[in-house]
């Protein structure tokens, strides 16, 4: 789960990492009140879970209350790179003297935690890494190691926070690690970590997290009651939320062929097969969703999956691809027939069974003698058939 900037900063703030004073608001009235509290000038920042927000016009520096209201009225209805803006953050404007970048993340290759840092923050760290690889420091924290203040000091020295207070940098690194560990994060990124203050007064200079991104590990949700507050009504599609409540992995896409299968890999492969078949048939038919019924699914789970997929009005045909390991094709077939009985807005289905109880499953489907059911021998054939049906029903409509 990705957090919004204001949520990420709340976690940093709780850990004692300096962040600018800021108030989250969802309408221009609250923005006006926030401006009185924060003072002018201030920054109005669209809250959206996608990068390149600044370039898309999602951040505005304002000098008056009226400018702030105007800015919020522009930002609040915006959709940035396909993501609806949830609200705005009214934040203190800081005088930036220098920008750094620091992140802590799961490293899938070295199978530990990876600290990435550069003294040239503020822009894309990937670009800096490409153009000036020597400027980006990459260090590792072992899962078995206790990362303490001494380790943080050594790391801050290696990173080289020139022009900044190295001791404060070490404290921030240590606190970032605590945020990462205590919250079961997979990413904690501060970009920029800025040196702020009066250029002529050394005593006023300090480090401050101006923007932050945090991703939490969904698998760890069971041990964090506090994550309820981060549930995002803007992010999930209504069908995705419903599927999640039923314990199904469902991802809504934009196409016409609904897809249900067992196992994440086989379902992804089914999506690809539909896209490949559409290309061969010279059409722009696309998969409508990803739905994994998991291992050992019951007839009930299959029926619920059909209901979710067919709740999408764009779906013209459903491709059901099951290779039974623990899952029994017999159960799946029973679930399909139940859904045909109960769902009114039924559409044609294409079924491909293999493995555990495939023959029994197919004979259950055949005995129903329902014209909506099409059976294919292989997943490639099934994908071709599903695309053909989607095309034909599109032409009729």
């Amino acid at each position: 789960m990705d957090l919004y900037e204001h949520e990420a900063k709340q976690l940093l703030d709780e850990a004692g990492i300096p962040t600018p004073r800021a108030i989250y608001a969802q309408n221009s009235h609250d923005v006006a009140l926030a401006v009185e509290e924060i003072g002018l000038p201030c920054v109005i920042k669209a809250q959206v879970k996608i990068g390149h927000r600044g370039q898309a016009g999602g951040v505005k520096l304002v000098h008056t209350r009226d400018e702030a209201i105007l800015a919020s009225e522009q930002l609040l209805p915006m959709t940035i790179h396909g993501h609806k803006v949830s609200g705005v953050l009214v934040a203190e404007a800081k005088n930036i003297l220098h920008e750094y970048y620091i992140s802590i993340a799961i490293d899938r290759n070295s199978r530990d935690f990876d600290v990435l840092a550069t003294a040239n923050g503020g822009t894309e760290v990937e670009e800096i890494a490409k153009e000036h690889p020597e400027a980006v420091k990459r260090l590792h924290i072992s899962p078995l190691e206790d990362f303490n203040i001494d380790a943080a000091r050594a790391m801050a020295q290696q990173i080289g926070f020139y022009h900044a207070d190295e001791e404060q940098a070490a404290q921030i690194l240590l606190k970032m690690w605590q945020v990462f560990k205590d919250n079961d994060a997979t990413l904690v990124e501060i970009n920029p970590l800025a040196k702020i203050g009066d250029p002529d007064d050394d005593a006023s200079k300090s480090l401050c997290a101006l923007d932050a991104k945090i991703t939490l590990d969904d698998n760890a949700a069971y041990r964090h009651d506090g994550w309820q507050q981060f549930v995002d009504p803007y992010a999930a599609n209504e069908l995705e939320t419903r599927a999640k409540q039923l314990g199904l992995h469902y991802v809504k896409l934009a196409g016409e062929v609904g897809i249900i299968g067992n196992g994440a890999g086989l379902v992804m492969s089914s999506l690809d097969a539909v896209a490949g078949a559409a290309k061969q048939q010279g059409s722009d038919i696309k998969p409508a969703n990803f739905l994994d019924i998991g291992g050992g699914a019951s007839a009930q789970v299959m029926k619920q999956s059909m209901e979710i997929v067919l709740s999408d009005p764009k779906v013209r045909v459903v491709f059901i691809n099951v290779y039974g390991g623990i899952t029994s094709c017999k159960e799946v077939a029973t679930g399909i027939l139940q859904s045909l009985d109960e769902i009114t807005a039924i559409r044609p289905i294409v079924v491909r069974f293999d493995g555990n109880a495939a023959a029994e499953g197919l004979s259950i489907l055949q005995s129903a003698n329902n014209p909506q059911i099409n059976v294919a021998q292989t997943m490639e054939e099934a994908a071709q058939c599903a695309v053909r049906i989607a095309l034909e029903s599109g032409e009729r409509a």
Binding site: L144, A264, G265, S269, D272, Y323, G325, D354
Partner: protein, 305 residues
């Protein structure tokens, strides 16, 4: 083939007395795996009866891995423990010097997996998984001992043959085994769909490359991370036998987790396209579909035989 485990090696099951554990212990026993005990502190001292081809087999339950190891000399453990208890279970197995730990459990927090994988590597213990279907090895029908089935991979899809298979996905493992059932396998290993796993695609490919009976290796990857690129980089320099690959998830959108915790394209990285390009750049054939991948495996085999 002995893939991280010898034929006939004694095996324990952690979480044997749960529903999944019971189902799959019965399956593994039927497949010829030498299951010698279960671990459950609340049921220590009891036994569980399994029906194996019509006759009843009594398996003892031990309170800890250490007790099970001392009593049985267990070399491997299969873990079906629920996510919130999985880390402690695996740490216990590592500390009991179990040599191979196959973690089937899906949904373990990645920080827990990072810890148990690091601890296992420090102790020289091999973890397979988590979030994987396990591993299965095959032997010729005239071999003195049958292969080993650790986990949930169905036994009856294939028999012994010259192919090796490693996969991030369970059902795609079965799919490819089914497509190539007429040829057969030395072993198949499900590496798992989590961001951090104990045995990477590369480690499995290296094990198959070192096995004299494996003639062609099939690798099934998917979006997320860069384990497939690691294989491409190593294979181009060191691989001594043909490798063919399949990658799932070309149609996966950015930023969406596709079922597996590790199957996600983020910041434009970990796409199926970049994996395919990395493999093809070093002349590893990548099938468009599982069917085409199977075809590539057949062609590769006909060239080496």
């Amino acid at each position: 083939m002995a893939l991280f485990i010898e034929q006939g090696a004694p095996v324990i099951v952690q979480g044997m007395t749960g529903h999944q554990g019971m189902t799959h212990t019965a399956r593994m026993l039927t497949a010829g795996t030498r299951i010698v005990g279960g671990v459950n502190p609340r049921k220590a001292g009891t036994t569980v009866a399994f029906d194996v081809q019509g006759s009843s087999v009594e398996i003892p339950v031990f309170g800890t891995c250490k007790e099970a190891k001392e009593a049985t000399g267990a070399k491997a453990s299969v873990v079906f423990v629920p996510p919130r208890f999985a880390k402690d279970a695996v740490v216990e197995a590592i500390e009991a010097s179990i040599e191979l730990i196959v973690v089937i459990t899906e949904g373990i927090p990645v920080a827990d997996s990072a810890y148990m994988v690091a601890l296992a590597r420090q102790h020289g213990v091999q973890i397979v998984g988590p979030n994987c279907p396990g591993l299965v090895t095959f032997e010729p029908s005239d071999a003195p001992l049958p292969g080993v089935n650790l986990g949930i991979i169905p036994q009856d899809i294939v028999s012994y043959g010259p192919l090796g298979l490693v996969s991030k996905s369970g059902t795609l493992t079965y799919q490819l085994m089914g497509e190539l059932s007429d040829i057969g396998f030395t072993a198949a290993l499900g590496a798992g769909g989590d961001p951090i796993v104990g045995t990477t695609l590369l480690e499995a490919v290296q094990a198959f490359d070192a096995d004299p009976n494996t003639k062609v290796v099939v690798m099934i990857g998917e979006i997320g991370g860069s384990a497939e690129q690691e294989v491409a980089a190593w294979a181009s320099e060191h691989m001594t036998k043909p490798l063919v690959a399949y990658i799932a998830g070309f149609t996966a959108p950015e930023g969406k987790q596709m079922g597996h915790a590790g199957a996600i394209v983020s910041g434009g990285k970990g796409t199926a396209q970049e994996k395919k390009q990395a493999l093809e750049a070093v002349h590893i054939a990548v099938g468009e579909t599982p069917g085409q991948t199977a075809q590539y495996a057949r062609e590769a085999l006909s060239q080496v035989q």
